[in-house]
Point group: C2
């Protein structure tokens, strides 16, 4: 039986992981390479050089299982890491559970930016600074990533230029102020700053934007300026790798609780927080040292894993990135403006998609209203206010527990509460006022978006 | 020399203090009693019975040095306590300090409500629930206290009705939503819900409100309903006592750093966060076991300790509370609507005022602009975004360090970073846009407010 005398496990600073886990060498089958859209040949490090410093490109393609975390990155991690891991006793009580179903959560909202995003923003800023870069550009949806990069740039004395998806820019004015407080410049995307943005605005002057569009804008500026790099907050291998500090800590903390998860849950927008939480556990399963379930949760308005197609697609809307093998809704798909802005992405991390395709990871989609109902129940029980994105994981964790109770099965559930909702109060306001709509993606809209997939490579 | 290998000290849950420290028996001289405004006789427990449960009244008048923390309160504290204590290495670096001047801060922003306020909200909700109370009423300025009580009421299944100072109600819409998410009802004060509110609105329809007015409203409803108690977020002895978990933890953490503060700093609105941080250190000074300085920081717009008069005054605007011996700007003084809403109170905790009067505690007032400049510098160095209230303490800590560097003196500075500024982004926006005014209190306005002090007791 698990320890019953503690609510949370906090680890000492000395227990921050000193290496990230890279899942690439452990993935089932030969990984499909990203392709150059012109030649349809595998993308090499040279193709990425206009956007990223060499150190990050080498991490992106690395097949080393462990990658050392540099000292200056660890020094910043110390500000909030290790993050605490909780047994959700009060939530369990509010669900009428009696200990046979147990819910644990990792709390990443303790970082200065309020989410897991600094776990990769900090090393990305560090490596760019080391490479002599002066400025970083990026996109942000809900604003979590843009905030994290703004903070990281302040700490490593880099300029930071953020393209923020317009719907979030308008819904979350205070996120902009937060980024400006850390010294960043913030544009609503689509913007007039870039050719990609101007093209979109010409075709759709009222565009609410999307992560895909914002990526196109940020990439364009980085590609055109030698002193400027691009920083991506999710999807790429090196980003998922940086996030594994979450799961590596969580494994130690679950051991300290003397308990083992049966199912590991996280929300998925581009996949980084869930990769970070789940890959260190998946490592044991892939190496036949453990058995457990993995459940990725996404919004019905942007159901990449549950209704998308597994194909090569661009990472951005304008079609400027390499083609990546992933589940996709089509690179020019613009999701409905749901409040979980960080989950409004047409694709997902290729590594995560591979695990779903292999049948090892399950996926589930939820509508907004039940997600916010779960978030409010969680907040009243545990105190902490979930962001709309991890509220999807809260909903799924509650449903897993209730299903197990129904079946009278023991079940240990671990989820990643990857950020707080302090800058999402307009969403809570809409929910509490009964104004939140459920926006499932219509089949015809999905088919129209999928019709625009780029040409696929021919089987050899 | 202090430990140089760690950034923060986190304690295990088992090191949460199990008793609060009550400074009353250690205060210099015989404490002046609160007086009944009608009889001018000392107030007894019976006078407080319409507002508070007996258990809290007994704590209010207790002269026991230690008061046990009930188990169910400790169980909630475990959600975020012990809070971390940091060496502000990055801030020191940004100030050009080289280790001779060292800055430490206790970080209370990790609580679900984002500040130190739950330290007393939770026990107050617990004791009221135990006493069979169904509903709590309260006032809130910046919203930190109202949020904390809303959360605590959700956890102990109590209704919660919050009167929020109108200027903050308008400046901080998302604070209202936060309180509603935890299940509370929120009114802008002055409101039409109470006679006190209606009287103010009749005289000043455009009143921006004040903590004094909001207290009058909350007290009125509690006094008129048997199933309803009033809960105060500061000033009273039992509130300051509950907050001493901050300083008790901080002492252990400073010991773990192998360092000792020369000066302990906190912002003061009603006095509770600073009392909570400083009293456990003051205990050692009062018992001749240590020497150190204490510095209370307040806004120039509401300079209670630096320009107020030490006299008996009401705690609220309508004159319904007992008369308390304290520094005051006059109970009907309405401070300018500065963004540090939690510091807009005409009086201060009598215990804290006594220590200022005795010359043991120093006080200093700051204008808004230098305070926000310090907050931005802190955020860019340490990551965390200070609330406008503790930003006053940040400013003072930085100035102490710079003055010591100027004098080439060693100085160890400890301050309480009592809450985050996530719901204060309109204030940061105003600052970053150069729209923040410095609003010092005019002497004629001060004299006019002081002219309305109630009759003072005659010397025996």
């Amino acid at each position: 039986m698990p320890r019953d005398d503690v609510t949370k496990i906090v680890l000492d600073e000395s227990e921050i992981p000193t290496a990230w886990y890279n899942i690439l060498p452990d993935l089932p089958g030969e990984p499909l390479p990203p392709l150059h859209p012109g030649t349809m040949e595998p993308v090499g490090p040279a193709d990425l050089a206009p956007l990223f410093p060499e150190s990050l490109i080498m991490q992106e393609v690395s097949t080393d299982r462990w990658i050392d975390i540099p000292g200056p990155v660890l020094d910043v991690y110390r500000l909030w890491r290790p993050s605490p891991l909780y047994r959700a006793r009060r939530l369990e009580q509010s669900l009428g559970l009696a200990g046979k179903q147990r819910i644990y959560y990792k709390w990443e909202g303790v970082s200065p930016a309020g989410s897991h995003k600094p776990n990769t923003a900090v090393p990305q800023a560090y490596y760019n600074k080391e490479a002599g870069i002066r400025r970083l550009t990026t996109e942000t949806g809900a604003g979590q990533w843009g905030s994290a990069l703004s903070m990281a740039c302040a700490m490593f004395d880099l300029e930071c230029e953020v393209f923020m998806v317009k719907v979030s820019f308008d819904q979350k004015p205070y996120r902009r102020v937060l980024m400006r407080t850390w010294g960043a410049t913030v544009h609503a995307s689509p913007s007039k700053e870039t050719q990609a943005g101007r093209n979109i605005l010409e075709a759709s002057p009222d565009s609410t934007g999307s992560l895909g569009i914002a990526i196109s804008e940020a990439v364009e500026i980085a590609a055109q300026n030698d002193d400027t790099s691009y920083a991506l907050g999710s999807v790429l291998n090196h980003v998922c790798t940086h996030q594994t500090v979450i799961g590596l800590e969580a494994k130690k903390q679950m051991e300290a609780f003397e308990d083992k998860p049966d199912v590991v849950i996280g929300c998925v927008g581009g996949g980084s927080n869930y990769a970070g939480m789940s890959y260190p556990f998946a490592m044991d399963v892939l190496n036949d040292n453990a058995q457990m379930r993995f459940l990725a949760v996404e919004p019905e308005a942007c159901p990449t894993l549950t209704r998308g197609t597994y194909a090569y697609d661009f990472g951005d809307t304008a079609g400027t990135t390499p083609l990546m093998p992933m589940y996709t809704l089509g690179h020019d798909f613009v999701p409905a403006p749901v409040h979980a802005g960080g989950l409004r992405y047409h694709g997902d991390a290729p590594s995560l998609c591979g695990l779903v395709k292999a049948g090892m990871y399950e996926a589930k989609a939820y509508a907004q209203v039940p997600v916010f109902e779960a978030a409010v129940q969680f907040a009243r029980a545990e105190g902490f206010l979930p962001g709309p994105e991890p509220a999807h994981a809260v909903r799924a964790a509650m449903d897993e527990a209730l299903a197990a109770r129904e079946a009278d099965e023991e079940r240990v559930i671990l989820f990643n509460l990857c950020g707080h909702g302090h800058f999402d109060m307009s969403a809570y306001d809409a929910h509490l006022s009964g104004k939140l709509g459920d926006v499932a993606l219509a089949e015809e809209e999905l088919q129209a978006a999928l019709a625009n997939l780029p040409p696929q490579p021919q089987p050899a």
